[in-house]
Amino acid sequence: MSAPNPPNPPQRGARAIRGPQSALTDFLASHNISANQIRQDANARRAAALASVQAAEDDSNAPSPAAEPEPAAPPRRKETKAQEAKRKKEEEKAIAKIKASKQFQKRRRQYNSDDEVTDEDEAARAFFQESMAPLPGQMENCEICEKRFSVTAYSRAGPDGGLLCPKCSRDMDKEEGAAKKKRKTQAGRQRRQLQSNLLDGIYPGAKDLMTLCIETLAKNVDMADSFGDLPPALVDRLSGILCKKRLMNSSILDLFLRPEYDSVTIYDGSKLSSDDYIRIFQIVPKIKHLRLRNAVQFKNKVMDHLLGTTVELESLSLYGANLIDDERWNTYLTEKGSHLKALKVYWTDGHFGNEQLEVLAKTCPDLERLKVAHNQKVTDPGISHIANLPNLKYLSLEITNARERTTSGPYVEVINSIGGGLRTLSLSNISQLNDSVLKAIHEQCKDLSKLRLADNEVFTDQAFADLFTGWRNPPLTYLDLHKCRHIDAAEPRENPESIGLGSLGFQALMAHSGEALRHLNVHSCRHISREAFESIFTADKTYPELQTIDLSFCQQVNDFVAGSIFRSCPNLKTLKVFGNFGVKDVRVPKGKILIGVPNALGMQIEGTEDGDGRTI
């Protein structure tokens, strides 16, 4: 169709499929006369005449806008006044119709969520113009540059509703695209930040001044030449924030090294080199407490330097330092071990094994705190050596040797030997340990405040009940028994031998420690019955100290149980219920956080109940 006129009824024009032409048409075309053109002009004239008559008598039965041959989209030429009036009227009608249509309501909801179009009229008009726009495959004049181009499904509308050619669309995209995109991601970032804070247990609201200052300081840390005499606790928080943002490098490290300090904590040392670690001992010779995470470059060279200095560390915590070989460990423990009170060694892969634990027992008589986590080298004989550390108060073991699983014997030996003095006992990844360990804890431990026995598939419910019944140990403040449950891939729901922490054990532990317990984690202990939860969190029982509870994947937890927990634990801050599909619509009191509700957003924060429990 070569008509210079605006494209007429899409019904015809859009198809643009033509059969063979007659000789007459060909002849006329060669003289630049188009039959189509003549017919359209005639139609337009007829329509104009009809419209002027109708407009005069204020028509009420106009044809529906879809059947109306008049295009509503500009550009428009040769329009009489009457035509224009009529067209306006049609347009209004069509818009009113659109406003009422279901499709439009749906669209509007979408728009609303994006905050893009708020004015209803505007939205309806946009929708209308869109529906009246030429269909793909047609030719159209660009609204801005007036050039002809073929309309595609991707052609975008210009500021006045007409279509734009690809070049002008690109320019438009460039102009608005950036701003539009930015605004959207900004909102998204805020929402994600809020959710992230909630997961960190930070309740939304105004931050305290100290946090604001520390965050500003962390943002502008490159401007600081020293922290002055900031208290150590604040320096530590600052280190935490900077490391979280991965900003801790050689030059930032210098801010944290002051000759008068006695402790250095680096939460992420992945950007520091061996020389940086050596510098710690050079600048802070009086250092007593050293804590380094992701300290891969803390290797033999650094250890050799440390051995050559007069530094006498009382506590050493190394995370990920897997380039220190066993020989260096032996030398270090032999030469400097006598000062050590705390030793924490994480993620050393194939280093730090039984032999080092044996040396430790001989050379570090004053050791109070020992943590060996994610270690693949220690086996049963190594664990038995820990029994020879009589002053140990805090013991934490997580041996991940997949080939040679640790067994109950050595653990029982350790507990029988030093259990009486332990304040913390944390054993993770102990899938093969049996009830004898629980029995030993019941008999020996009398001073524990933190107990973790995680990831086991042998302990029985009855043994847990026996552990907590008549135990002379005072109530615990921290208890983590997550993943103590029966595993059977063939019959996942059956648990005939009551393996894992079940109703009996849970009731016994709450009876024993409920009054003082602050943190409770029974994640994945899926055999605890609903009746047990209900009888523990009844209206007449309160657990004043409880702050965090993790009941994820305890399938019996439902709305009622969650509600009862909020009632029974006045100081609760967070309750985690991942994977509990019974929790759907529980009312969360103000100031408390419920995490893991299975809805799109995952968590719910605001309650309707009054109270001033709002904290940061």
Partner: protein
């Protein structure tokens, strides 16, 4: 408005005085965000500050104390809101303000 010398009936406002003599009159409720000030002003502790509603800070200068007062009102204004924009803190004041915040326990 500053301080009421009578000890019966607590005044709604309290005065914060900086080391260089600047005085800031702020709402008692807003200032009580600082646990240190709340303790100073609590009548049960019987400090002099509680009697005359006047807290003198010998180690905080006027510029910093002004920012602290601004924070008190920022916090007070946003006490029941969830989506709170962070207060702007000029980087050059940051360290001193941090020390003050640590001292005031806010």
């Amino acid at each position: 408005m500053a301080s009421s010398s009578q000890n019966q009936g607590l005044s709604k406002y309290v005065t914060l005085v900086s080391m260089d003599g600047f005085e800031f009159v702020v709402l008692r409720e807003a200032a009580s965000v600082s646990k240190a000030i709340a303790r100073m002003l609590s009548p049960t502790n019987g400090f002099k500050e509680a009697q005359d509603g006047r807290c003198v800070f010998g180690e905080i200068n006027g510029v910093v104390l002004e920012k602290v007062a601004e924070y008190f009102y920022y916090n007070y204004k946003n006490r029941n809101r969830e989506d709170v924009p962070d207060m702007e803190i000029p980087p050059e004041l940051c360290l001193e303000l941090l020390m003050a915040a640590d001292y005031l326990d806010t």
